[in-house]
């Protein structure tokens, strides 16, 4: 019955397009999805929640939905949280409610669909479905250089998806699996020589979608011009699709990935350090956040590199929890920050750091929540990102047995500097925005603290950050192999 989680937003989007009242329906759908999503993710009965229908016989492709393992549950939980925040906080331009709310719902439906798919084909297809409203929203309702940004993200992501598709087709063909279901694909093996090239296609294909260096230049401008809910959903949720896919398919190409370990380490260090320095240099809050989101992908890739070095999930039991935990934490924190940045833009009319200052006096609650998000992003203990980053660094050293440092260990040591870089740009941005003397458009006469429509979603996201930060085991327990529920029901013809 997990199809409900996809159907609710899709039906709501259709209802909105047919002319029903946009905001109440969208909000109702998002709230319902939040309750059902969190409820089902943490207390579910597999036989009730699964669904498998064959849509094509040769090649055998199924519309198979359900939680494949703990990673799907966590990602679905992330999706419904961010969807709720995106619907509730966004300020729609006059007269564009239809497009605005239906696009947000469709993006979320695509993301949830991808994370719920237990079939490789629909995993891919649902993600593509989510990209279209993303492009349209950036192109039509974005700000600044929206058209250029929209074309750039369209071309980049289309090319990335197509490279990815070639890799997926090849992977299934080479595995000799009879169906496209994950369970059948993962039960087969691939010749190591072929694995090498499939792995390359997967790294490039997924890499473009995750904004791996040097395929990252679409990300920051797109997030800066995108309407806030789209930036929240794409940076927070949709971008995790690539990492999810890499981790999911990793056992198929474990040996092939070894060949690219060195290259991947160089690229991920570029993500952390190069993009990190680029981020320090940003003059606008939204561009800074966009770049920081690219930079943080480097950490997750670091966990992935540790996984490649170890050779399997069992050999490095820390790597997968580290990556998934950080995916969740980053998704929540970046969504919170994009949301609050949009609030700042609406209240003061600018996100140029040089034109802001002293906002904390007029809007103390906004300052507090932004500070919380910024601290989480830096990796302050007690917040979710900290647990993720610590686990990433630990996983980097998991296979270290004394003696000289291996490539992954050296990368880990260098990546630690990324924390300092994050601290530099985040704290500086916070100071320039909220501290110091107020200017005319940030003083108390001009700016009021934000209202409940922004406070509630911000509080929900902040609570999620705190909860996972204080009890990371709540997520990590879901990822233990023994707890992973095996899909039991048979494919129906």
């Amino acid at each position: 019955m997990s199809i409900i989680l996809i159907l609710i937003p899709i039906l709501a989007a259709i209802a909105i397009l047919m002319g029903r009242k946009a905001k109440p329906i969208a909000l109702g759908a998002a709230t319902l999805n939040l309750i059902l999503g969190l409820g089902s993710a943490f207390s579910f009965d597999h036989s009730v929640w699964g669904l498998t229908l064959q849509v094509l016989s040769k090649p055998s492709i199924h519309l198979s939905l359900g939680f494949y393992d703990g990673m799907s549950m966590i990602m679905v939980a992330l999706s419904v949280l961010v969807l709720f925040a995106a619907v509730m906080s966004g300020k729609c331009p006059e007269g564009r409610e239809k497009l605005w709310y239906s696009s947000i719902l469709l993006i979320a439906a695509g993301a949830i669909g991808a994370f719920l798919s237990r079939d490789l084909f629909f995993f891919y297809a649902f993600h593509e479905l989510a990209l279209i409203p993303t492009f349209l929203m950036i192109g039509m309702l974005g700000s600044g250089e929206r058209k250029e940004a929209a074309w750039k993200i369209t071309i980049y992501l289309a090319l990335g998806s197509i490279v990815l598709l070639a890799g997926l087709i090849w992977l299934v063909a080479a595995s000799g699996s009879e169906t496209w279901l994950f369970k059948d694909i993962l039960a087969s093996t691939i010749d190591p020589e072929v694995q090498k090239w499939i792995a390359a296609l997967l790294i490039v294909g997924f890499g473009v979608l995750i904004s791996l260096f040097p395929f990252h230049s679409w990300a920051a401008p797109a997030y800066a011009s995108a309407p806030a809910p789209v930036a929240m959903l794409h940076a927070g949720v949709l971008k995790k699709f690539g990492l999810y896919g890499l981790i999911r398919l990793y056992p198929m190409v474990a040996e092939g990935m070894q060949v690219w370990l060195g290259t991947l380490i160089v690229l991920l260090l570029c993500n952390i350090l190069w993009v990190g320095f680029v981020t320090i240099n940003q003059k606008r809050l939204d561009m800074m956040l966009g770049n920081s989101s690219v930079m943080h992908m480097g950490y997750i890739f670091l966990a992935f590199a540790a996984l490649i070095e170890a050779g399997s999930f069992e050999a490095n039991p820390l790597a997968k929890p580290a990556a998934v935990l950080l995916m969740f934490a980053h998704g929540i924190s970046i969504a919170l920050l994009f949301m609050l940045t949009d609030t700042i833009r609406r209240k003061t009319g600018t996100v140029e750091l040089a034109e802001l200052g002293g906002l904390a006096k007029a809007a103390p609650r906004l300052a507090f929540l932004f500070g919380l998000g910024a601290m989480a992003s830096i990796g302050l203990p007690g917040l979710a990102n900290f647990s993720g980053e610590v686990l990433v660094f630990l996983s980097g050293f998991h296979s270290y047995e004394g003696g000289s440092l291996g490539p992954v260990q050296i990368a880990t040591v260098l990546a630690l500097w990324g924390v300092v870089i994050s601290a530099v740009y985040m704290l500086r941005a916070f100071r320039q925005t909220f501290q110091g003397p107020s200017v005319s458009h940030t003083d108390e006469n001009h700016v009021k603290d934000f209202g409940p429509f922004c406070q509630i979603p911000a509080a929900v996201l902040a609570v999620a950050l705190l909860f996972v930060g204080l009890f990371p085991n709540s997520l990590i327990n879901l990822l233990k192999p023994s707890d992973a529920p095996a899909p039991t029901e048979q494919a129906t013809e």
Binding site: L129, L159, I162
Partner: protein
């Protein structure tokens, strides 16, 4: 009733309607189209009822194949002709503008009958298993098409298109006859079933030469490189129903005879790999040219012409990777792709005709502001354009997916890479329509007028694109996979 009566019904129907047409009042010429649709629907029903004919009838079995491929493509042709006729019904006002009496429908009646003759020829092509019957069926179609293209003879564009089509068509016929004579000379038979056994080391060179000549001629028919030059001009100049008919029915029948001709050669151990190379080169070149040349287009009809070239390239991919993998045969993938292509492309032509009737223009700029002027049509156009570009969860994706899957399995890496470049370019040029519809504002604010017939056809086709995008299995039932 034996299978070959299907063609006879259509042909006789066409002749009778042509006679009746002479006695109809000028205002009633559209009755011809309605009757033609009736005849075609009848034939479509018969298609599922007819018996395979007696195998002892040697004269017939030698020339006429009755297998799932033949059955599917006959049905395909009939459906395509019905849709063309529906399109022509709503297009007749524009058609009659360029006849002797612009205000009446005088002189539009023959237009509908000609489609029936072409349809009969294409149905015969689907069953042609001998080079001679293949040639005769092809000529029946081609000669009819010359008239259909140049039908608006008081319109310079249509006339120019007709002349271009005639000259290049005659050239390609020359190639075909020349190629057939080489193949006959090398093997001593025109029966495609027997040619496969006659291939030896000695005659393989002559056969390859003959086959190449035949392939060039078929490239004209399907609109592939190197005989693609006529496509943009002819598509743009011809009346829109003719364009739709050429780009869908004519392309499909070109592919079905290409499959029949290629099969004995490509499955042969001696020359099979060379045929694969020829087809792979054709596929790669066609994909690249079709997609890249589409990028600068500003006219939607020309864009569809280049898109039709590009699609011919995508269909050549599974043919080059002959029967690779163990899921579907190449024939079935081609049939699948074309079935989806029919739905998407007809929808696009219906939309084009609606826009043309309202704005008098085929330019992409005519779509500007459609999102405000007619939200429902704009949404359906967006779905169709997405399907043409190959977005997942639309029917268009499955066709490309199966074609690429077969090419990847067959290890045709160069055409596959070119194909991916082509698909990405496709995203760019197809999305120009979406950009025009939603991102630009129209000078005109008045709502668009759509005739109910066109509107409901577009609705049905769009619904099919969405339903088959989620559940493509029904197409498998039709192609007998």
């Amino acid at each position: 009733m034996s299978a070959y009566w299907l063609e006879i019904i259509v042909l006789l129907g066409g002749l009778i309607l042509l006679l009746v047409e002479a006695f109809l009042a000028p205002k009633q010429k559209h009755m011809i189209a309605s009757s033609a649709i009736f005849i075609l629907v009848l034939t479509l029903i018969c298609l599922f009822l007819v018996q395979p004919f007696n195998v002892d009838n040697e004269e017939m079995t030698r020339f006429y194949a009755w297998d799932p491929t033949a059955k599917f493509f006959k049905g395909f042709t009939i459906v395509a002709t019905i849709l063309t006729m529906l399109l022509a019904l709503d297009y007749r006002r524009i058609l009659s503008k360029f006849t002797a009496n612009p205000d009446s429908e005088d002189g539009t009646g023959e237009y509908y009958c000609l489609f029936l003759f072409a349809c009969a020829g294409m149905m015969w092509m689907a069953s042609a298993k001998d080079l001679v019957s293949l040639f005769v069926a092809l000529e029946l179609t081609t000669i009819t098409s010359y008239i259909l293209v140049g039908f608006m003879r008081r319109n310079v564009g249509s006339l120019e298109a007709g002349v271009k089509f005639l000259i290049l068509g005659a050239l390609s016929t020359g190639f075909l006859v020349y190629g057939i004579s080489w193949i006959y000379g090398a093997t001593g038979t025109t029966d495609l079933a027997l040619i496969g056994d006659q291939i030896t080391k000695e005659n393989s060179t002559y056969l390859l030469f003959g086959l190449s000549l035949v392939l060039i001629s078929l490239a004209f028919k399907v609109g592939a490189v190197p005989m693609h030059l006529w496509i943009p001009d002819v598509y743009q100049g011809a009346p829109t129903p003719t364009t739709a008919f050429l780009s869908i029915a004519s392309k499909a029948s070109g592919f079905v005879i290409a499959i029949r001709v290629i099969e004995p050669f490509i499955t042969d151990e001696l020359i099979g790999s060379k045929v694969v190379t020829i087809l792979a080169v054709l596929a790669g070149a066609t994909i690249l040219l079709g997609n890249l040349a589409a990028i600068p287009q500003t006219n939607f009809k020309r864009l569809l012409a280049y898109s039709s070239i590009a699609n011919a390239g995508f269909i050549l991919l599974p043919m080059a990777a002959w029967d690779a993998g163990n899921d579907l045969s190449s024939k079935e993938v081609v049939a699948f792709y074309l079935a989806i292509y029919l739905i998407m492309t007809f929808a696009a032509f219906f939309i084009l005709a609606v826009i043309h009737r309202n704005t008098g223009s085929d330019e992409i700029s005519a779509f500007e502001g459609l999102g405000d002027r007619h939200p429902a049509l704009a949404f359906m156009t967006a779905v169709i354009i997405g399907a043409l570009a190959g977005l997942p969860l639309t029917a268009g994706f499955w066709g490309k997916f199966l074609a690429f899957k077969m090419a990847v399995t067959g290890g045709l890496w160069v055409p596959v890479v070119l194909g991916f470049i082509g698909v990405t370019a496709g995203f760019y040029y197809y999305f120009q329509i979406i950009r025009a519809m939603y991102w630009r504002n129209s000078l005109e604010e008045a709502p668009l007028k759509i005739r109910p017939l066109s509107f409901w056809v577009i609705v049905v086709l769009t619904a099919l694109v969405i339903v088959l995008g989620l559940w493509p299995q029904p197409v498998y039932w039709l192609i007998g996979a």
